[in-house]
Amino acid sequence: MRTPRPRASAIDMKRMREWMGDFGSYRVAINEARIDRWLNQFAADDQDLAARLLDAVDFITYTQMVHAFRNILASLDGWHIDPASRIGKWRFAPFSGSSGESGDTMMWQFRHANNLTGKQYRDLFIYRRDLLGEDFGPNDTVVFVDDFSGTGTQACDAWKEQLEELLPNSPRTYLVLVVASTAARNRISDETGLTVVNNIDLTGRDNIFSAECAHFTEKEKATILEYCEKADKREPRGFGDCGYVVVFAHKCPNNSIPILHKRSRHWEGLFRRYD
């Protein structure tokens, strides 16, 4: 979570331009009118708090994702762009989603980031349905690529329900993520055969409602929660009670607090998850 401006800082054009600069690459245009509309959903007394919440948003740009993927692949033991120098067989697969979903978007970013877009690298990239047919052994490596894990629930369930069955001979399996919470990393490593490798770690301090988060007072946290309840009664702290303020350029994860992304009769999120 980024450090917000001091309380009572002016919500002026300079600040507005900074937000637009920061969030400009989001999949849905974030312009002055939309930010204004979002701020105006808060009571006059709470607009300073809302502005500070926007300051705190961790916006992950495409450039950051590219850097993350480049650094991560370079750090994996046994990988080399030259097949002759690689240890065992390597394959990359989207962890989640299908055409147009975040898993696929991530795979595209991953290929570009690592200069693996050429025809000669096509065989490295497979579908999940190809996992069993590849007949991987313990010296081979499967790299699943995705953007985010907040709780680790999805990765753990997927492993138990399907992936383990499709990877019977225990190849090395990595789950490459741009952002992961420490809790998710620990849970995935405890419950599955996946090794999580990520670029940005989220800790308790990144949960806006946790006592460890020092950027907001307890009273401010309670006010934020009230708005979150208005936006989403069912999961006011975000999926898995994560309370994150993370937004990716291609999508806002549902683990982030609902006032950022939820669209309902009572609320219009700034970072809409769907068009």
Partner: protein
């Protein structure tokens, strides 16, 4: 059973010994199921009293050195729960991929609540390695119902991107195999495939859109049967051009429902309604039939047997699963 150039489909026996249950690993080819708690508790109680009488079947994985369970995962689960320090195992030679898949299929007969895509992928491995395509032979080999083999083959006929949708880690996004199985007859309909505008993948994509957004009045995947029926009726009435246009309009426009595909002069709905009334009446009469009273009515029983066979044939021909 052995296939040309392949090892036998059952692994060779090595011998019985005792091992610590903590040294055993579940078989990764064992479909991911949760065993029913009640029968497991009964088994655990029995093991507590008399121990494990039938040794578990295991093999030693050469690459990792670990013992993997081929048969006896329930007994192993109980042994772990009872904190037993040793269990009897019958060690067999390490199976090949084909042997392992076949053994798992034969031990764990397919249950309805299993997701079909992983099963289909295993069947694909067997089909490739054994060069076997016959549904009957694959059914015999795996112990799967032939209808299940057919369903798996239908799933495998879809492009990989669609198959991946059935393997999505997110259960909310994961597409049910039933969607693709029910869509199959329309997607592969010979008449529809002749329409100049038709593309299998564009059609599938639009159907996915409509299904997800519940537009065009989509209620369930069985709605594809209605679509297929309208196409069949139109073709029988030589109205291919009209149904082509209507289907094209239906695809483009989310406000149109399946009724848009009805061509009045080709519709059989009136006959179907009449037939349904007759079936309901007969169903009611058979339900109340006193077996003892009609015990000697041989001709009636012969006709009932014929009717049963006829119904089964028609159900099979329509691709429906017959639940017993």
């Amino acid at each position: 059973m052995a296939y040309k150039g392949q090892s036998p489909l059952v692994p060779e026996t090595i011998g019985v010994k005792y091992v610590n249950p903590n040294d055993l690993t579940p078989n990764p080819h064992n479909p991911r199921i949760l065993f029913d708690k009640a029968p497991l508790a009964t088994l655990q109680e029995s093991i507590k009293k008399v121990g494990i009488l039938v040794p578990l079947t295991v093999y030693r994985e050469s690459k990792t050195g670990r013992y993997v369970i081929l048969d006896g995962q329930r007994r192993w689960t109980c042994a772990i729960a009872l904190k037993m320090d040793r269990v009897p195992v019958n060690q067999v030679a390490e199976p090949t991929l084909v042997q392992n898949i076949v053994t798992m299929f034969q031990i764990h007969k397919l249950r309805e609540d299993w997701e079909l895509m992983p099963t289909a992928l295993k069947l694909e491995v067997l089909m490739k390695k054994l060069n076997e395509k016959s549904e009957k032979k694959l059914a015999e080999l795996t112990g799967l119902d032939q209808a299940v083999v057919v369903r798996c083959k239908k799933l495998l006929s879809y492009p990989k991107g669609y198959q991946d949708m059935m393997l999505d880690p997110d259960p909310e996004k994961r597409m049910k195999a039933d969607f693709f199985i029910e869509l199959y007859p329309v997607r592969n309909d010979r008449v529809v495939n002749k329409f100049s505008w038709f593309s299998k993948d564009k059609f599938t994509h639009r159907m996915l859109d409509k299904y997800h957004s519940r537009s065009s009045g989509f209620k369930s995947v069985t709605d594809f049967r209605i679509m297929k029926q309208h196409i069949n009726n139109a073709h029988r009435a030589k109205k291919d051009r009209q149904i082509s246009e209507k289907l094209r309009e239906f695809l483009k426009d989310d406000s149109l429902t399946l009724d848009h595909l009805i061509i009045k002069s080709a519709s059989v709905s009136a006959q179907a309604h009449k037939l349904l009334q007759g079936i309901k009446k007969l169903e009611e009469e058979i339900k109340h039939l006193d077996v003892n009273e009609y015990y000697g009515e041989e001709e009636m029983w012969i006709h009932l047997e014929r009717l049963m066979k006829l119904i089964e044939t028609k159900l099979r021909a329509s691709g429906r699963r017959i639940k017993r």
